[in-house]
């Protein structure tokens, strides 16, 4: 009887410790779900790849050869870039310029969109975290353009706040004759809103919108989208425009995170 009471008490203490751990160690809760998420994601991706491979047959083989050549070409280009970067660093040092931030890009698989059942922000969860050198505030992009910024990090995963979320402001420049700047204030997956544009500036439609580098979060020159139009002309000297995103946020499969390593 006494042993049974002690056992029950031990289980109760274990349960209480588990509940407290979940309450105070948020990353632990997220990482606990990670293997199941990763397994499900890998299963569906693998099945889709096999199906598509079977469907495309010989064309897949030809594409494989073409991609191998492309990888070899890119490896050589990378080598040239590395040499140019070393030279750049030497010259910056000689001129007494501030050293550029180090680190590289970490490829991460998109695990899911928008948190759990009641997400309040436009986010995605990716399968790289603190153990891969990812830190909160790191820039996330794909070759086509800017995706967002890392908002929370656990050991194995990170949550990325997308630039479509209204709480994420991005200082941008619109390419054109003059330097027109604005603040990107979120939007939808299909259309972003660029505010605080100077009404006197002429922005030709289909101009490229890039990050300006002001604000210190995003480096300058990352494509954000294409300027579409001024939806409403206001009497104030500042107005807003609409931007077609460079990135298809609904079809993100892999992203690249700026890591400190």
């Amino acid at each position: 009887m006494k042993a049974r009471t002690t056992g029950t008490l031990a289980v109760a203490v274990l349960a209480a410790a588990g509940v407290l751990a979940l309450v105070f160690w948020r990353g632990g809760a997220v990482d606990a779900a990670y293997p199941a998420e990763k397994a499900a994601r890998s299963f569906w991706r693998g099945a889709a790849a096999r199906l598509s491979g079977a469907w495309r047959g010989a064309r897949a083989g030809a594409e494989n050869v073409r991609l191998r050549r492309e990888v070899a070409t890119l490896a050589m280009a990378m080598d040239d870039l590395r040499r140019a970067e070393e030279e750049n660093d030497r010259l910056r040092k000689a001129l007494g310029y501030q050293e550029r931030a180090g680190g590289g890009w970490v490829a991460a698989e998109v695990l899911s969109r928008g948190g759990g059942a009641a997400s309040t922000r436009r986010t995605i969860r990716v399968g790289k975290g603190r153990s891969s050198g990812v830190r909160p505030g790191a820039v996330v992009r794909v070759p086509e353009g800017l995706v967002g910024v890392v908002s929370e990090v656990s050991a194995k995963t990170s949550e990325v706040l997308l630039i479509t979320d209204p709480s994420r402001k991005v200082s941008c420049t619109v390419e054109g004759d003059g330097r027109v700047t604005g603040i990107l204030c979120g939007g939808t997956d299909d259309l972003l809103v660029l505010r605080h544009l100077d009404a006197r500036a002429e922005v030709p439609p289909r101009s490229m919108v890039l990050t300006s580098g002001l604000g210190g979060v995003f480096p300058a020159g990352i494509p954000v989208g294409t300027f579409v139009r001024h939806p409403r002309e206001s009497k104030t000297p500042l107005r807003e425009g609409e931007v077609l995103p460079a990135v298809d946020f609904t079809a993100l499969e892999d992203v690249f995170i700026r890591s400190e390593r």
């Binding site: 056992g7 588990g18 509940v19 948020r26 809760a29 779900a33 998420e37 499900a40 009641a118 309040t120």
Partner: protein, 150 residues
């Protein structure tokens, strides 16, 4: 003691799989299937008061973590719903209303949340009912295996 350990293991499995399912299952208007909230309602209907409250706190903590909500946002709501359902005469009446109420609760804390609150309210009713239609029978079956009733 073996029974208690089995119940604890079941609770841990439900939390992990529930969190993974919430992240992976499709969403509409930023609303997904409330697996964890439904599981804590199930526990409120079937388990002992202490187990139900402990599970609600744990499920709320997991929900806060995966949704990046401010600490205790879901914990407080899940616990309040579990307590209310536990002592209600018709605990199952909470199933269709709990998830829409959770949307309102989130809106109180984050008025600038993604998506329209009215659309979220509308979408949350069928999503909550669909989650209950799956979670209640599955947990009922698993609960019988480990004698969850208290």
């Amino acid at each position: 003691m073996k029974g208690e350990l089995s119940r604890l293991a079941l609770a841990a499995i439900v939390l992990v799989l529930g969190a993974a399912a919430e992240e992976l299952l499709p969403k509409a208007a930023f609303v997904g299937f409330p697996v964890l909230l439904t599981a804590s309602l199930f526990m409120a209907c079937r388990a002992s008061a202490a187990s139900a409250v402990a599970f609600a706190v744990a499920a709320g903590a997991v929900e806060d973590a995966i949704c990046s909500l401010p600490a205790a946002t879901s914990v407080s709501f899940f616990t309040a719903v579990a307590v209310a359902a536990r002592w209600s005469r018709v605990p199952r009446a909470f199933v269709p209303v709990a998830f829409p109420c959770f949307q309102l609760w989130l809106w109180l804390w984050r008025p600038d949340m993604a998506g329209s609150v009215f659309v979220r309210l509308l979408v949350s009713v069928p999503f909550g009912l669909a989650a209950a239609a799956v979670v209640f029978p599955v947990l009922g079956r698993a609960g019988r295996e480990v004698a969850i009733d208290g």
